[in-house]
Symmetry: C2
Subunit: 243 residues, 2 copies
């Protein structure tokens, strides 16, 4: 976030300090949010239904493998889909600026009309853009379509970041089942360290996104706790019903 950094360093300049969450931070948040919640809830659910911590570890690792692959590759496809969408719209705009100059001019007027800017005031901007086709196309991409170009290599980086964050988040609640022999001790330890991890993650997320730190921590803990509780009760009910 070089712009935010620059603003933080020289806060008296006329630039505003608007927070821009970077794509990498967003990917870490996506991966950690689910990684800290779903494997731990599954482990808690199974702890209510089976007697061996070993089975919880097997199911938990299978879930982490499946979840990190599904989310990571899902992030890869989403980023690549955005890049393809941008490229195809860019080609379309490049064609239209040349082949349908009248329609493109009408679109410029329409954009400004939404903000009460009359044709006469918009015309000098239009003339300037028409003299510079590359800037004209960029302007339409951003202001007509709301699309921004992606950095190179974004899709792979996004996939790796989401998958690694999911694995890191999932390893925390699973560790006690791997290390402790007693199911009760493993479940209790796992619940406690997972709630602590959720609170820290929620607080950091709140700070990064500029919302209330405490509220974000409490919300994150509540979601994780609710998911784990429902999974625990459901698995126990299903198991006692069938046994």
């Amino acid at each position: 976030m070089p712009e935010s950094l620059a603003n933080a360093i020289s806060p008296n300049q006329h630039h505003e300090h608007h927070f821009q969450s970077s794509d990498t931070v967003r990917d870490i948040v996506i991966g950690l949010a689910d990684g800290l919640t779903v494997p731990s809830a599954l482990a808690a659910g199974l702890a209510g239904a089976v007697s061996s911590p070993r089975l919880v570890v097997v199911a938990g690792l299978a879930e982490i493998a499946a979840g990190s692959i599904a989310m990571g590759l899902g992030g890869f496809l989403a980023a690549r889909g955005d890049a393809e969408h941008y490229a195809s719209e860019l080609r379309r705009e490049q064609r239209e600026v040349v082949e349908q100059p009248g329609d493109e001019a009408d679109e410029i007027y329409e954009i400004f009309e939404k903000y009460g800017v009359p044709h006469a005031a918009a015309t000098p901007v239009l003339r300037s853009l028409q003299a510079n086709p590359k800037a004209y196309v960029d302007f339409m991409m951003r202001f007509e379509l709301g699309l921004e170009e992606q950095e190179k290599g974004r899709a792979w980086r996004s996939a790796a970041t989401i998958a690694a964050s999911y694995i890191a988040g999932g390893a925390i609640p699973l560790a006690p089942y791997l290390l402790l022999g007693s199911m009760t001790a493993a479940l209790q330890t796992s619940v406690v360290i997972t709630l602590i991890a959720l609170a820290i993650f929620g607080g950091l997320k709140g700070r990064l996104l500029g919302s209330h730190i405490l509220r974000s921590a409490v919300q994150t803990v509540l979601i994780g706790g609710l998911a784990a509780s429902v999974a625990f009760v459901l698995a126990r009910l299903l198991n006692s019903h069938g046994a």
Copy 2:
């Protein structure tokens, strides 16, 4: 998508037919993508490690409960976070338009400079915006910050749509384990219907997002198949290693 619909009906008008994925479609895709992948991979993984289809159902339902709650509430918080971010930036811009008119004017010039539009050409637009403070603020929200206002009730709708899609996606691979007594038959049936569901989902997603239908179907099947295979092999290895 009323605008797209209008364009499709009267394609000879000057409006362009740019695809805009609606938020609801996006939420359905998010929920189905993970719902069709993670529970089925977990079920396949456990089928390689345990002998009772019943345990696969218990773990699968616990996963669906945990996953739908975590993803649904995650979507809720994301949408509400966006709405709060918009509201706080809106208040800031409303203040700045009144208190720092010179800085705001410089920002308008900067926006246009990026597209090679000189100050003289941008000034009539600036004057028009300054005469209409509400439009001025809206213009800055959209063109300086790239933020758009959310529809009302979006956060709840987003949560419900994602959770319901996740449950619907997760129910498909789990049904055979619930209905068939033999683990082998259940695993085979589940793999086949899940791959078919992934292909249909991938194809529809490709069509909606305007990418290649066949390629999207193949990619979606590969991701789901890869996640399930890794989970299956991992669970089997873990289990045989410990047994």
